[in-house]
């Protein structure tokens, strides 16, 4: 049959019509934007991190030359105690805050998804609203709630005999963690909840027939099935933690216990803009990017291993 149809049609006309240039038009704008706004600045930063500026005399009207110093800026950055301790601080912050926040988000998502909670939509909206508040406003808000002179929380606790200082040197990091958690629990919850919706309902029916409780269903069925989403939220939260900047900077206006180089990004802003040393700032930025990259790679590897196991 096919032979006869081919002979009736005759030889094929022209060459095969492929997709042509259309894909380039679609990818083009993204490629241009990616190159201009992401790739080029990255390359400029790496290039700039290899140089430093040497001046003559007092610097007035003298010569200003760019000198290649290879790893010199990186050495200086790694020897900068405050920069390094900033890393220590955000890593400590991450180890505590990220599991706590994601744990809460998971718990809320599971609760809303289960049959135990009514008013699912209202609950979701209420939990999501903090994310809609701009980060700086949220930090200012909490900044007022932390200040002893004006905070209803502090005053209320004082009436029951508890003297709390949210802005003490030991507690200010955790006060910052509180702000971050408050802001981002909602959006993580929504992501996890959406993933939960994709699980087919008949799996639950089968499990219930087998006699599984809601908690057991949550633990053994739901969580494993949304593991990819959980990995994504972990990913995003860790990158966000390395880049912690907004909340400490705003809290710095209400307490001196947040130093000028509290987090790595605050160090970079201080170096690049206050001290106007852009070469050193570029080197510090590359280091931060590398740390984020390494952590992401570690998570990726862990995810692969987990997938291989199951």
């Amino acid at each position: 049959m096919s032979d006869s149809s081919a002979s009736i049609q005759g030889p094929r006309r022209g060459k095969r019509r492929g997709p042509g240039l259309a894909p380039y038009f679609f990818v083009g704008p993204f490629a241009v934007a990616f190159t201009v706004f992401l790739l080029s600045p990255l390359l400029v930063a790496v290039w700039s991190s290899l140089f430093t500026v040497k001046r003559s005399g007092l610097g007035f009207g003298g010569t200003k030359t760019s000198v290649f110093i290879g790893m010199g800026n990186y050495q200086a950055a790694l020897q900068n105690k405050q920069f390094m301790s900033g890393f220590g601080r955000v890593l400590l912050f991450g180890v505590v805050q990220v599991p706590l926040m994601l744990g809460l988000a998971l718990l809320f998502a599971l609760l809303i998804d289960s049959t135990l909670v009514r008013f699912k939509r209202v609950a979701q909206i209420v939990l999501f609203i903090p994310y809609a508040v701009p980060a700086v406003i949220a930090a200012l808000l909490w900044g007022f709630l932390y200040q002893p002179g004006v905070s209803p929380i502090v005053k209320g606790l004082r009436t029951i005999g508890l003297d709390v200082n949210f802005l003490a040197p030991d507690s200010v990091l955790w006060s910052t963690a509180n702000i971050t958690t408050w802001c981002y629990v909602g959006v993580n919850m929504v992501m996890i909840y959406s993933a939960l919706q994709a699980i087919p309902q008949d799996i639950y029916e089968a499990a219930r027939i087998d006699g599984a409780s809601e908690a057991r269903i949550a633990w053994s069925i739901k969580i494993p099935m949304i593991m990819p989403t959980l990995i994504v939220t972990l990913f995003l939260s860790i990158i966000g933690t390395i880049q912690l900047f907004n909340e400490p900077t705003v809290l710095r206006t209400v307490t001196s216990n947040v130093s000028s180089e509290f987090t790595p990004l605050m160090s970079i802003v201080n170096t690049a803009f206050a001290q106007k040393n852009q070469n050193l700032g570029s080197a510090m930025s590359v280091i931060v990017a590398l740390v984020a990259f390494i952590l992401s790679a570690v998570i990726n590897l862990a995810q692969r291993k987990w997938e291989e196991k199951s």
Binding site: V254, S256, Q275
Partner: protein
Amino acid sequence: MNTNYGKIAKVSIALASATAMLLVSGCGSSAAGGNDDSSSSSPVKLTFSGWVPHIEDAVDLWNEENPDIQVEFKRIANDAMKNYSSQIEAGVASDILQVSGDALVDLVIEQQVQDISKYVNDKSSLFTESDWQSGVFGDGVYGVPQDSCPTALMYRKDIFEQYGVSVPKTWDEYLDAARKLHSANPDVYITAFTPNEASLFIQDFYQEGGTLYDVDGDTWKVMLDSGASQTVADRYQTLIDEGLVKIVDMWTPDFWSAVNDGTIASFNYQAWFPVLIEENAPDLSGKWAVTQSPSDSGNGPSSNVGGGLNTIPVTSKHPEEASEFITWLNSDEKALDILIEKGGLFPAAKAGLENETLNKTSDYWGGQAPGAEFVKAAKNAVKGSTGPQVDAGFTALKDGFAKVANKQDTMGNVVTKAADAMRKAASDKGLSVK
């Protein structure tokens, strides 16, 4: 599959022209202030960035009287000074920038501001000598001084009278007064220790004859950790150790509520502070007075940490007109009236020292003229010299003060570390520092 090449062609032409339009409009809107028109019919347009309160009124006055040179004022926060360097590099900085004396040094070293000596050299006599010098670097003049910051002691007359403490004239008397006040009432402190303000320390350091920098041939010499600083550091350490000062960050709601409820009895601070007390503690009207700062001898000198200047970046195309404007702004009688009355500035111009508004009496200050005390202080004030990367030193001081407030470090150590931070920042910039 039918690929309609005609459709693709139309879409790509549309896209290309849209992109072209965006690019062209983008180029057009990024022009820095000022136009290249050399014809006499259209006015020269200048832009001016600053943060002095109500300075718009002075700018409006100039615009009325000078139709051929029109100035547009852009209000910024004083933190935005950090952006000046990037703005100048990008070519989008205003023609005139308000800048602090310390920040100006870095801009001159970066070669980002213009030498305007050929336009303003003959105007130096209009300004106080030391204020004029804050704009002079090497052989050039890089800014016209706007204001100055002499120090005086602002105190709660009623509190001192209530506890029978006499107003101190020497630093020894000050310590005694602090002890007396605090033992009479543990909720009252002679002053506040504000870790987030470095200039309180710097003003006392200058008063003892200290300076941030000395110049040794071609090398900058950091002097922040020299002898004078240890005297001041010891004094602060004593006040803190004996619990004689209220530890609170300045400009926070906590700070003003401490001022308002009488926890803080005095401030040895700068000429622009009275206006802020009036604004933030209106209920305390009539209870404050001003006198000369305490000093080692009892007869002065007081100190002057230096104020701000107006400078012109290298990107400005109208330095002559801009120089004319900033000279007028900072020395003309009518402009000074506005800067003093509404801006709360202590003027750098000699004419300003005689200004009526500056020297008028005030009910808030119990019928006294606070400005007159600052004028008296300014005539017998000492000032240290500035240099590169002062911001790094001040930031390190502030970080250190926070540690001192938490008993994690001592003032002496903090000052040494801050001096080292300044040395490092300056040498990281490629300068020769010791």
